[in-house]
Every structure is written in C-alpha cells, then in structure tokens.
Subunit: 471 residues, 2 copies
C-alpha cells in the first residue's frame, strides 16, 4: 500500500522537478551579491516548492498531527530531501497529545429551528453524547464576557460575536486570539456549560475557523467551538429579538500517547560547517482543509529556497538546516525540537520560519543588531527589486516553532508576507491548493533564498550582534 502510494506521489511530477537542471549558472568567481541575485532570479521561475505543495495537498491532503496522513507527509518530505541531495536527512518522532474532531452538530432549537455551522476548537472536551441544549447569552464584545459576574452564566451557553478586523500583517489575530484561547475557561468561571465564538476570520462564508484553545488549570473544562461568521451574525440578530436556545453536540477525542514527526536536512557549509542557519515551516495542518496556505506554502518556500542553495558548488560557507516541524497547530513541535536539540542550539546562528501563507513578501525585519552591517545593506539591495522594504524595528519573533530557539538565544529574521486575505482562509476547509498563486509563492521564495544565502555567507556574528544590541 505504501509502495502504491509512493508511486502515485512520484507520478505527481515531483520526480521531474527534482531531475531538472539547475535554474541558474553560478560561478565560484561571483561575488556574494551576484550569487544572491542569481538565486533570487532563479527562484522567480523555479517551481520546486510549488510542485511539492501540489503533491502534498493532492496526494495526502490534511495532515493533522497524530494522524497516519501526517506520517505519510513526513515520509514524502524525507524522500524529497534525500532525492534533492540534502545531507544529514532524518525524520525523528516526538510525543504529542493527538486531538481528533468527532461529530459536530449545532442548531438553534427555539424560537425556530436553524442549523449552525461550527468547528470544535482544538483541544476542546466533548459534550455529553446526547449533547447539551440550553439558552444562550450573547456578548458583542469579549470584554463584556470578562465583565460578567460569577454565576451569571449558570447553565447557559456563552456566545461571543466580536469581529476580527481585516489587516495586512496579522496583528488583529494576535489582538483577538484570547477570545478563542481563553474564552472557554472565562465562560466556565462564570457558570457556562459550553462556549461558542465568532470565528477568528475575516471572510463571510459558512465555514468555521478552527484553532487551539487552552483550558486554565483548576477551571471546569467546557466544550467549545467556533461559529462561522454569518452564523455568529445570525445569532446576534436572533438574540436581539428574544430568547434563543441552542443544541450542541461535539464529540472530539484525545490520545495522550501519540507521536508526530520532525523532518530535517542540511546543506553542509564549505567553510564554517558548525555554524547553522536554520529555516523552517510546519508540515502538519488542521484537518478541515488540505493545509495549502497553512503551512504547505511555508514548506514550499523553505524547500524551494533550500533546494536552490543545495545546488551551489561549492556550498555556501555556513551550514543551512531546513526543518519541517510536525505539530505546530497545537504548539508541540517548537518546544519538542528545542528540547531534543538542546546541544545544537549554541551552533544555530540565525533562524526563521515561513508560516503566513502563500502571498508575496512585502517587508523584512532584520536580526537584532544587524541594522548597520554590510549583510543587511546587501540584503536590502537584493530584495528591493522584489518590492520589499526593510522595517526599522528588528525581528523579535519568526513563528511558533522558532520561538523556543529564540528564547534560548538564537537571533531571528522575519520576512513578512501580505496577509490581507490570509484570515479569510486560515484554519478552514477553504485552505486548499487552488488558493496558492505560483507567482506570489515564487516571489516569497526569491526573498527567502536571497536572505538565507547572504546569512550563510556573512561574516557577521548574529549572536554577538544581538547581545550587543540588547546591552
């Protein structure tokens, strides 16, 4: 069965992409600047990453951490890295609690019967098998729920209908995320028996946006789900007219003894192999779509960039490590990686993660302390023709999987992609391959390959620069 599956995958054209001749002609006499430009321009027409995400989403589809699909995705990634000639390719498992969606049914039962579209939040407990059926209390703002008195929601379902505004950089998601992460426990503290919130999404479709929730210790765990945006609006209109009752059935399950996979490979440095530039993305996805923009696209970008760098002869000076994380969505993979690679961390001189969709990069944030360096000036000049500018503030984060490395002292770089419609699709069934524009993906890959190559070649001690910057 696995052999059949792998044949199917290779028929997807990935083998052809791998066998293709290099898209650029590099010379040992080229300056770093010229090589960076050649890599950048090659990435604009290369389709290695795009073909990979097509294969990944077409032949595997969803890759929820803990599923057999995620295991197959890790095998596909491993075989792709091996076939592309990466060094030190390996696949390592780490323990997770796997959460699996069950039935999810929600309907208004009074004053009239109406079906609601919901998605159980990741990590949510189940309702009783027959569900719960009770009156709702609607809060137009999350702050109003926080202001509600203890006991005021006894036996009710709390519903938060606050909207998340559309912005380019994802900052509104950060501002709203406690509605999903903390809302269930805050509602439970006040007596609620279940929790619903308007999806953290900017679209107007009858598709709910899933995402992880986190229960507070010592607070009763209540079942929780996201409503599609039109359903949240409908409940707000109905509740304005009188009492509304909802029946909710959620039957997710958890397995505390599951595992997921990290897949990594390297392009060994020709001069300073013990200095590692680590770039990552996450291979796991939510279960409703096929994880194309979150984060198949990020995987495509870092694989596409790394594959071009792997073709350089001689190799770049420092070692490039590409890491495909395996459980970002429930935030297991970053901490697991940092723990399992504690000995490596001192060798990682710079890190970055691509996890914000498939659109073009519009700005980049330099590692702290790198602002007035030849590295940064060359990078800014190389990215300028792509329509990318340098933000004046240094990067302070670059994705959830990288955060534990950053906390342990690894400097980070951030390449920000246009996310103006990212939260239309994010964590919904709509996250499918057709949403990826190959030209925009290529532009993002071009930005990454230039940034990574120049970091690999740079004499700059990013760690020292960051330390000096802090002091």
């Amino acid at each position: 069965m696995l052999r059949t599956f792998m044949t199917f995958i290779w028929a997807a054209g990935l083998s052809a992409a791998l066998a293709s001749v290099p898209m650029f002609e590099a010379s040992a006499q080229d300056s770093d600047t010229v090589t960076a430009q050649k890599l950048r321009d090659a990435a604009l027409t290369d389709r290695f990453g795009y073909r990979f995400v097509e294969t990944l989403t077409t032949t595997i589809g969803q890759r929820l951490a803990g599923t057999e699909a995620m295991t197959r995705a890790s095998l596909l990634a491993e075989s792709t890295l091996l076939a592309a000639g990466f060094d030190n390719v390996h696949r390592e498992s780490f323990p997770i609690t796997a959460w699996m969606r069950g039935r999810e049914e929600a309907e208004v039962t009074a004053p009239s019967s109406q079906r609601l579209v919901v998605a159980t939040l990741g990590g949510s407990v189940a309702t009783p098998p027959g569900g719960v059926e009770t009156e709702i209390v609607v809060f137009a703002r999350y702050s109003q729920l926080l202001a509600a008195a203890p006991g005021s929601l006894d036996g009710k379902i709390a519903v938060v209908t606050e909207a998340m505004p559309r912005v380019m950089d994802g900052s509104s998601y950060g501002a709203a995320i406690s509605i999903r992460r903390s809302g269930p426990s805050e509602a439970a503290k006040r007596g609620a028996i279940a929790y619903l919130h308007r999806s953290l999404g900017t679209d107007d479709h009858r598709l709910a946006h899933v995402g992880a929730t986190n229960y507070l210790e010592g607070v009763k765990r209540i079942p929780a789900a996201a409503l599609s945006v039109p359903d949240a609006q409908q409940l707000a209109r109905m509740a304005a007219l009188g009492k509304v009752r909802i029946r909710l059935v959620l039957t997710p399950t958890s397995d505390e003894h599951a595992q997921s996979w990290t897949v990594s490979g390297e392009v060994r440095g020709s001069e300073r192999p013990d200095e590692i530039v680590l770039i990552g993305a996450h291979l796991d996805s939510w279960d409703l779509g096929t994880g194309a923009i979150d984060d198949g696209a990020g995987v495509a970008i870092v694989l596409g960039a790394a594959n071009l760098i792997a073709q350089l002869k001689p190799h770049a000076k420092r070692t490039l490590r590409v890491v495909l994380f395996g459980a970002e969505e429930m935030n297991y993979s970053g901490p697991a990686y940092a723990k399992m690679h504690a000995d490596d961390i001192p060798h990682i001189v710079l890190a970055g993660e691509a996890d914000f969709g498939a659109r073009r990069v519009y700005t980049f944030l330099a590692p702290a302390g790198a602002m007035n360096t030849p590295f940064l000036q060359t990078l800014a000049d190389t990215l300028n023709p792509l329509g990318i500018f340098l933000t004046r503030q240094p990067a302070t984060n670059s994705g959830d999987d990288i955060a534990p490395l950053h906390d342990a002292g690894v400097p980070v770089i951030a390449l920000r992609q246009n996310g103006i419609d990212y939260f239309d699709i994010h964590h919904t069934a709509d996250d499918t391959f057709d949403k990826i524009d190959p030209q925009e993906l290529a532009q993002a890959t071009a930005a990454w390959v230039a940034a990574v190559y120049l970091a690999l070649q740079s004499e700059l001690d990013f760690r020292k620069a960051a330390k000096d910057f802090k002091n």
Copy 2:
C-alpha cells in the same frame, strides 16, 4: 408556539417599518412622470423590503418547499401584506413533491483518504443505505461525457469537472445548466452508478451549490450530487495521477403528497381594476442557506415597490398584484399558478419577476412592441439617473414562475441586476442576510417601483403591442 413565534417576528422591527409614515408626498396634481420620480426617490431611502428579508431570514431561515418553515414564511408574508393594507390578500396551497436532503457523505478512499464536500441534487434518488464505493471517471468537459460510448462507464461514478465562467448577466449558468439537469441521466445511459459534477458556481469555497436535476424517462435514476469547486479541482488533479475511488452516501427522501403556498395581495386599480400588472418573486428557498439573495431579496424588492404603490391616494389606474411563489426551486409554483389562475390570465396585462439577487439593476428589457411608446420613453428617463439603460432587445423571459404566464400570452418586462458574484453564493450555505447591501437593494426597488407605476398608469395595451410586434 405560533403566537410566540409571531411575537418574535414582530419584535424584529417589521411592525415599526409598517407603522412608519409614507416616505413621499404624492399629489393628485402630479403628472405620472413626477409621481414615478417621487416613488423612485422614496424607494432609495425606504427600508420596508430590507426589513422584511431581515425578518424572514432571521426568524425563519431556510424555506424549502414542503417544510414547515415554508408554511411559516407564507404566514409571515400574508400578515405583512394585510398589515400594509393590501386588498384581496390570500394564501393558497398547491400540490408538490417535496424533496428532502438526507445524509450526504463523500470521500476519496484510494489512493489516500480525503473528505469531499458535496450537495445532493434536488430530486436525486438515494444511494443504497451503505452507499456506493467505486472508481471514478473524470470528464474535463461535459461534451466528453456525451461523447462516451454506452457501457463505457459501467459500474463507475462519472465526474464532470467543467467550470462555469463568471459573467454579469447569468448567461453562463444557462449554458452550463444541462451539466446538472441532464448529467445524471446521460451518465446512467453509459452505465454509471452515480454522478458528480463541479458546482455551477464561480467561487472557490468548500461549499457545494445545490439545484434541481431532471431524470429522463426510461433511464435508470442514479444518485447525483454537486462537488464544491475546490473538491472538483482536487479530483481532477488526483485522477491525472492514477485511479481514484470514491465512497458516496446520499439519503434524500421524497414525499409525493406534499404542498406549498402562494401568497398574493393587490392594490386595486382606480380606473381599470380589471387590468392587472403582476409582479412576483419566490418565497421558497433551497435548504442550505437562509435564502437571502435567492430569493429573499426578490421578495424584498417586489414587496418594497408594491408597498410604496399601495400608499398612493388615489390608487394607480390599473390593479397591481404581487405574487409570492412557493416552489420555484423545483419549478412547481409557476405551472401551478398558471393552472389555478387560468381564468385570470386574460386580465394580466404585464408581468415580471425579481429573482436574480440583491445587487443593483443595470439594464431593463421592454415588453415586446413597447419600444417606441411614451411609456417606454418616460420609463427610460426615470431610470437613467439610477444608472440604468434600456437594452434594445425586448424581454422574452422574466423568471421561471412567470414563464407559464408568458407562454399563455402575458407580455413581460425584465429588470436585470448585476449578477457578477451571484453565482458565488447561489444555492449554497453562503446565501445569508449579511450578503445583502441595503443600498443596492434599494436601487433595485427604485427601478421596480418606477417601472411598475408607469405600467399601471399607461394607456398602452401591452398585449396588443406584443401581438403586433410578433406579426
């Protein structure tokens, strides 16, 4: 329970809208042109229709013909017409075969398991209770299915992935509709055991577009469903790589002894009451959304226009009849109305239906033979400030419910609305109230009220003009 429900409905603000003072000051001394302008301008700020569709979609939701919800919708419409002072208000039932969606599950089972989003076609038969599971044959064009040899699909599921292009006027839907209406029987003729087609939609969301299908007499009836657009694209990619198997479970049911309702009211003519201008829309909807743009918006437009005309003192010369049809989606209500009102038909001098969404009117098509008449010149002048132009071809249809009247000799008028994104939403779960822009709806209502008023006042014999035009 019904009383509670009606209280809930009235709380929706409909009573306030009905009690509001007229939005315009008409005078018996005004010329028809001036009155038409006043009605038009009043409609631009009036919200009677918008409030009605808000109430309809919020308090009732979906209104599939044959459901209890459709009965409640007919009661709401009847009470609204009575409260607004219409004459001759009544609600009449007619027999239909009610079709009800059941379970619908579709998944790729090989080479890898993937869930598919489908919607059972209206009128489809069920699969066996355990479903069917077999290989698919994908046709990129419907014409390729028609060219396939008898027996070539024996035991297979036929899948048509042809796309419907985005246009403004809905013509691509007419061109594509046989994919849905005739596809199942054409596939069955060639041996297929089930049929799937790419939704007749222009969006890229994981929501399927339902719609009625029609089995050919003497051909085996096979279960049929529409795939969401991204799912159809995914199947095309998968099938290009090798054999694909699908499991399909559809459990719709039919009740051949059901009924639905027509609701109508009149504004009796002050001079020629036996000459009727009939305007309609359909109150029933598909079951996946709440029927806001199809056709709550049309109901809002004709009710909004009729309500303004009902306020004129004295009444307009001819009688206005507003008819809310009750089973358009499976095409029962038009034929039923024409049959039950055969005696009326000679008195209907002109008819029109609003059934193309909630966006602005951009053009209108005159009744045949009316091209060079004072009626049309005044109408063109009145609509011009709304950005509406006169198309040179006369109207030959004005909605499925009106078609049988037109076939029986009733001239029609057509006001075309911008449908550029109508088929993003049409027949999906996304058809909800939030999709209606009140300003655009008001513009469409303004166009209708002017056209209808001028037709009510006109000396023109539309039937004679149409007959003369034909000869």
